[in-house]
Symmetry: C2
Subunit: 365 residues, 2 copies
């Protein structure tokens, strides 16, 4: 059963998606603003459950690409996504029937809705990873045989390029080089494929869960327990089914730099209750690993989400600030994200982390 | 009247083109090797005088792109140029009737001949600048309204991208970023246009002059005066009609680095006769300016050519070595290369040189 996302639901959805975006996937406020505008103007996009996708539907994805720290400063013209999508269609020689979000994240969950509203196309209730990741090849679509290319990359002047590479890791390198030259806030149309491919490779239900997580936070705020509310909701929600608070504390140190086309760094936290307990979260656009008093508590591809400890407002890595009082939450990654092939593509080694992958639920035991 | 370039003529042509390439345009030895191989295998390409190009012919260019210092170390697979050309044809939706060299230079004059031999297409006796230049927009085609884009860039793995930018300077930036990521030895198919456009924008006769210059050097070697022979030939050859020796000496200092995707540096020379006379030649892939005892003697777009003083063998900037005994020659640039619009695009300011443009023949008076 397909359903519609109304303007009223967008705020919850944006917040929930920013939560699942584990610090990345673009800025939720900006993503929500342009999606609200599109929904008001063109009407609400239809959300299509993964199970309702026909095998022979023609699918493609749209995403912002670059560094979130740049996105919050550099304005868009608003028709880049449509331009990239149309260019991809003309290259493929056929219309695209539905839009698949590449990732769940602050603005990269919103952008497909914005484009779906503009073009009158359904958006599939699924994505490539059930979270956000910094690099193009880091998703279950690539791991399961889909290809990001041909890929259209476009900047705010509509300068654009079509990338066709031997593999998605090379496509990432080439797209990143262009994105840096274009100013690190670009849009890509990518992952052209069929409904059958998407049903075999994508992670279903994640837009619905993002909306549910946002609604849980809203309900929790009214009850005064938003962090607990979202943890409780996610413990019962497919495809995650496990969530817990890993640390509560204050941001006491923050290193962040934009290099090689990413926002990377480390956020250090100090406990408010026991002053000798400390934590650190490493990130590359998204949060990668959390260590509490030197002990690893969660690591990619499991989800690490930093939220305001009073309101459960998700804090993207680019919005982390000294003095913020936060809760660090961990979520179990969807099962498809933990296969050997998946870990090879976006497990700890892909980020040069020294720790091997260890499931969050086993670490906790 | 069109004519054919035989295997025997290739050596003279490659040498003459390397001479007019003012130190750049790719390595002449490597360019000659793969062109010889193609001519032996597929037959000689037909050279089409600019005047014989029909208005409605479909033209495009092919070129190596990157840093010559890398070209001499990194092997090619040999079908990159054809791949790029076919990709451009498929993008344009029509076949291309003739190949226009973008520049005259060591290998970038050879590559069109190699492709012409492979594909059985004529090569136009003309180019975009009558010399070589390091950046994509630095040519009379761009200055006179033709566009480098859509442009196909391809590496030795056939990873490729199609660039479409608002202007050729932006296309240069984007192509350079990709070329750096691809390893600085790539091929581009570019400047799609009509015969009419090419006749209005290109510089005619330059392949013939390259061949003539190479033959003059060969004749001069037999007479023991190759440097004078090529100077004499060029003084009578359109579109240059002016050449002179600016300095003779020994390479005593050489700074060269590969940065921002170019081979840049400065070559310092000391006179062999008067030990207090010194010269310096600045280069960015190609030679840009020569100063003798602090006085500017020639500057872009006029041509500055460094040759072995005994054999008149052109020395590309990447082959300059300490201790070489050389003659530095200056040539008048073709008239179309000295207009205000042309100087704005590739005059001294475009290379951040402090001197304004001054015609070589006026400096000498």
């Amino acid at each position: 059963m397909s359903f519609e996302i109304t303007v009223d639901a967008l705020e919850d959805l944006a917040r929930g998606a920013a939560f699942l975006g584990t610090g990345g996937g673009g800025d939720p406020y900006i993503g929500r603003l342009y999606t609200q505008e599109a929904v008001r103007r063109y009407g609400a996009p239809r959300i299509l459950p993964l199970a309702d996708v026909h095998d022979d539907m023609r699918i493609a994805s749209i995403a912002g690409f670059g560094a979130p720290t740049v996105q919050v400063e550099k304005l868009i013209r608003s028709d880049e996504a449509e331009f990239a999508f149309r260019r991809l269609e003309s290259l493929l020689g056929h219309r695209i029937d539905a839009i698949l979000p590449v990732e769940i994240g602050g603005s990269n969950s919103m952008l497909p809705l914005m484009l779906g509203a503009r073009l009158g196309l359904p958006v599939i209730d699924a994505d490539g990873m059930g979270r956000a990741f910094p690099e193009l090849q880091m998703n279950c679509l690539s791991v399961n045989g889909m290809r990001a290319t041909p890929l259209v990359v476009v900047d705010e002047h509509l300068n654009h390029a079509i990338i066709d590479a031997g593999d998605d890791r090379t496509a990432e390198r080439l797209t990143r080089a262009l994105a840096i030259e274009m100013g690190l806030r670009v849009f890509i149309a990518c992952f052209p494929g069929t409904g059958l491919q998407v049903k075999q490779a994508a992670i279903g239900g994640t837009l619905s869960v993002a909306l549910g997580a946002g609604q849980a936070i809203a309900r929790g705020r009214r009850a005064g327990t938003p962090v607990q509310a979202v943890v409780d909701y996610l413990c019962g929600a497919e495809p995650y089914r496990y969530a817990r608070v890993l640390f509560e504390g204050k941001v006491v140190d923050l290193e962040r730099n934009i290099s090689a086309g990413f926002s990377s760094g480390v956020c250090r936290l100090e406990s408010l209750e026991e002053s000798d307990s400390r934590a650190e979260v490493l990130f590359q656009n998204e949060n990668l690993v959390v260590r509490v008093d030197g002990q690893m508590r969660a690591i990619v591809p499991d989800l690490i989400c930093i939220v305001d400890r009073e309101t459960a407002e998700p804090i993207p890595t680019h919005a982390l600030r000294y003095g913020q009082r936060v809760s660090v939450l961990g979520l179990r990654a969807p099962t498809q994200m933990r296969t050997a092939a998946a870990l090879n593509c976006f497990g700890p080694m892909a980020f040069r982390l020294p720790e091997p992958f260890s499931p969050i639920e086993e670490i906790a035991e």
